[in-house]
Symmetry: C2
Subunit: 206 residues, 2 copies
């Protein structure tokens, strides 16, 4: 039995970074790889009339402090000690997400994600500035000029839009969104449920 396991991501979301870092542990536990799907969080928010939780909850007393505590707990639990909140948040990720479509097309998505998550959430940079992006990608051993040039191809632009719309049609309203076949799970704290759901499917298929 093949289980489809999708991980819809945008570099804009710190929770996508956290989930990305923990994903290898989940993959090892369930012997199944995530299929990473680049989508545009801004597009999802627009389609769903949603916004970043950090902004939506900013006015609520105690809630931002609690969210900070939960992030610290997640970091401590998974020892994600390289995390540094990006001082440019929220970063417009249109260019780096188009770049992810290019990287997937060229078979280098894994290296590209590793690089961009690093430059967004470990050694945080202003990753909506084209020169900063190119220089960061080059620093990570990728061809920044080439990738950024290809982001201007109409097919690349269209595929990011199509991915985004398809994810919303499947029920997404934010990032990270996971799909176990067509069952939706939202947020880094659902990775445990994703793992349990895959194990249950594997066990019932035996």
């Amino acid at each position: 039995m093949t289980i489809e396991l999708d991980f819809c991501f945008d570099f804009a979301s710190p929770n996508a970074y956290f989930s990305y870092k923990v994903a290898p542990k989940v993959e090892a536990a369930i012997d199944t790889q995530f299929n990473y799907i680049p989508v545009l969080l801004g597009g999802i928010f627009k389609a769903c009339d949603n916004q970043a939780p950090m902004l939506a909850f900013a006015h609520i007393k105690n809630k931002p402090d609690y969210e900070r505590i939960e992030i610290e707990r997640f970091i401590a639990k998974h020892q994600l000690n390289e995390f540094n909140f990006n001082p440019n948040f929220p970063v417009n990720t249109l260019q780096v997400m188009r770049g992810a479509i290019v990287a997937k097309d060229e078979g280098i998505l894994a290296a590209y994600m590793e690089a961009v998550f690093h430059h967004m959430w470990e050694a945080p940079k202003k990753m909506d500035d084209l020169e900063v992006i190119i220089s960061a990608l080059n620093e990570s051993g990728l061809d920044g000029e080439h990738i950024m040039q290809r982001t201007q191809e109409p097919d690349i632009k269209k595929l990011l839009i199509d991915n985004t719309n398809a994810t919303v049609e499947r029920g997404s309203f934010g990032i990270p969104t996971f799909f176990v076949n067509n069952d939706i799970y939202y947020g880094k704290d659902r990775l445990r449920d994703v793992e349990e759901a895959v194990l249950a499917l594997q066990s019932s298929a035996k």
Copy 2:
């Protein structure tokens, strides 16, 4: 070592009901009882400029559907088959929460909670109507007239306000909120973390 384990609740919240139903399993796993603290959710929301997630998220495409899916998953996982969403939601719980203060004072909080959660979320009634409340309590073998009469005592009214303010001061912004000593956890999905936190404290004390 004594671990203080608080469960701040208001009958108004379906997630308080779900957590209440699962609490015995958690208590058995950690060999520790929850200390139930009656608070007024409306007071917390007012103090924090917050509102029920179901209302706050109503306009966001896909999110209400997702929340429904997660509730169904929780119900299925824990076999909470007696749940019936209260058609009068949101119910003003001022009287039944004052009643919980009375019940705690009289040493019958457990029976009172069982009764009111039942009449709110299993055989749902309009539990902000005084006659409905009294009749429901009587039906469950409690003295509805007596309890409701005592809710008018100034000390009872004041204690509910004091509990509510103290919970906000400890960092709460909604219901259910749990405290492991002074570490805060919010929401039914954090019960697993509460359990793990208590086990970790017990293990480190050995």
